[in-house]
């Protein structure tokens, strides 16, 4: 994995985001209520700059005409065509491609195949001594489980190391 410094932690406050270019890829780094996440800045639909989209919450409808809004700040809506993605894990909020129930690898698939899961590649981002650091692997996707907030929480300090939670 390669290690890339994004910025000072205080430059990326809660609700903020930064879009950076690293090794030929564009990545959006988000601070969601104090936890950092990084997503590939490319929508699998038409390659839009996904991370420039609207940050919002999860909209669900338990029954007709009832709207439940939760997880404010954790959902990203693509600036073109409006597809929704969970910032915390890159998954599409409602897989719009899935028309058959099937298991699938958690991976980024080409946008052309309509049955594929259009999840977004995510990257580990950690705070090391008050610096926001992004790790890029090889082509293997990485996911930070939403529960794993220890290393990507703002305000923590950690000695620089190669140990990365995945």
């Amino acid at each position: 994995m390669s290690r890339h410094v994004v910025c000072q932690a205080q430059e990326l406050p809660p609700g903020g985001r930064k879009i950076v270019e690293v090794r030929g890829r564009t990545v959006g780094v988000f601070n969601v209520n104090g936890t950092y996440y990084a997503l590939l800045n490319r929508c699998p639909h038409r390659n839009a700059p996904l991370c420039q989209g609207v940050v919002t919450g999860l909209v669900q409808g338990p029954e007709p005409y009832k709207i439940e809004f939760s997880r404010d700040g954790e959902v990203l809506r693509c600036p073109w065509h409006g597809w929704e993605f969970d910032i915390t894990n890159g998954r599409s909020v409602f897989n719009p491609h899935r028309i058959r129930a099937k298991s699938y690898d958690v991976a980024v698939e080409p946008a052309d195949a309509p049955d594929d899961d259009p999840s977004i590649e995510t990257f580990p981002v950690v705070v090391e001594q008050n610096i926001v650091v992004l790790y890029l692997g090889r082509s293997r996707p990485n996911r930070l489980p939403a529960s794993s907030v220890g290393t990507n929480r703002a305000g923590t300090t950690r000695a620089a190391s190669t140990e990365v939670r995945e």
Partner: protein
């Protein structure tokens, strides 16, 4: 808001160079940034009224997609709401779309003033349209030779509309009129003849765009009244175009105005084949009611009507796009449109990339030249 901290990045994952060609974009929504943009072109009385009233009887269905209908990555968070966004910025359009996407000619189709077509006060509405037309000519057309203009008119007042067409229709940059599709009478009816006669005089194409459905003086947007949600209002758009097309065919419009072409903008196109099949079938048994129609309806339509591609179809399976294009003679009847800067726009470099190059060349360039004769001037 978080947008402030974003650094502009290059769009590094666009279509390959093989898809580049000089594109003619037949639907770019320019507009005014704020009401004050129109003041220099309005009388004092109207300017005051415009300031107070705005565009009354306007949009029934709020543009619920994107940010106020625009792409979130080109909208200016600080622009005044209600009249558009800084995506109506000329510099932005030139950089993003014209230079950025290889668009060689861009047809400006407005947006801010569409609701004037549904206003009951005909003089107020017409004056606003005149002002918008002058604003466009002075700011957009004069700024870059790649822009052309589909001028604004108020179809609900054909006399004033004809006067406006004669007033500026001779401008080299004006190549078409825009008729917003929500209307109390379908566009083939003789009520509108003064408009078409003026188009003939000025060699302008009749471009129909969706707007004003079910608002102002217009009837409910469907024959089942008013749908509830924005996603429904989008789907109703082809129904207007179909009503107007049927009207034009059966009122003999194509024979009455033999030199005029029709451009249908922003309703996609996969609806066209089943529609023309149906029209041909139904006509067989009811032909006697409109005996002046002496060719198959589909022949008139495929010969004289052109369809903008946006919002482009995404069939399942994707290969079905080839059938659709073939069934409607798409290599002759389709014209690329981006709909920049709206949220559901189509990137010129990523649209219909699986079509054969010679078909793409026609759709992205040649067909627009055939459809808007003044483009060749």
């Amino acid at each position: 808001m978080a947008i402030d901290t974003i650094e502009r990045t290059s769009t590094d994952a666009r279509g390959s160079a093989s898809t580049r060609l000089t594109t003619i974009d037949t639907d770019i929504h320019h507009g005014i940034y704020s009401k004050t943009d129109l003041f220099p072109y309005l009388s004092k009385v109207t300017a005051d009224r415009f300031n107070d009233y705005g565009l009354i009887g306007g949009n029934l269905y709020a543009y619920n997609g994107g940010v106020r209908g625009y792409r979130a990555d080109v909208v200016d968070a600080h622009s005044p709401g209600g009249l558009g966004a800084a995506a109506t910025n000329i510099d932005r359009t030139l950089a993003d779309l014209m230079d950025g996407c290889g668009v060689g000619i861009g047809l400006l189709t407005g947006s801010s003033l569409y609701s004037a077509a549904a206003m009951p006060d005909l003089d107020y509405a017409s004056e606003l349209c005149r002002a918008f037309n002058d604003f466009t000519i002075e700011h957009w057309l004069a700024r870059d030779a790649r822009f052309r203009f589909a001028m604004a008119i108020c179809p609900q007042d054909p006399q004033q509309a004809a006067q406006e067409i004669d007033r500026i229709g001779g401008h080299p940059g004006v190549v078409a009129i825009i008729m917003p599709c929500g209307a109390p009478r379908a566009f083939g009816q003789r009520f509108y003849n003064p408009i078409y006669e003026a188009c003939e005089r000025n060699n302008l194409t009749v471009a129909i765009h969706f707007a004003t459905e079910g608002t102002g003086v217009n009837p409910p947007p469907t024959s089942a009244g008013y749908p509830t949600y924005y996603c429904e209002s989008r789907q109703a758009r082809p129904s207007f175009y179909q009503a107007h097309l049927a009207s034009m065919v059966f009122e003999g419009w194509f024979d009455k105005f033999p030199t005029l072409k029709v451009a249908m903008l922003e309703a996609g196109f996969a609806w066209v084949p089943p529609y023309i099949w149906k029209m041909d079938q139904d006509w067989k048994g009811l032909r006697y009611q409109t005996p002046w129609v002496n060719r198959l309806p589909s022949e008139y339509i495929l010969e004289r009507v052109r369809f903008a591609t946006q919002p482009v179809e995404e069939p399942n399976p994707p290969e079905a796009i080839h059938s659709i294009v073939e069934w409607m003679d798409g290599k002759n009847t389709l014209m690329f449109a981006s709909d920049y800067p709206h949220w559901d726009w189509d990137d010129p470099q990523q649209t219909l990339n699986t079509l054969k190059p010679e078909i793409r060349q026609r759709i992205f360039h040649d067909n627009a030249l055939d459809t808007f004769p003044k483009l060749r001037a």
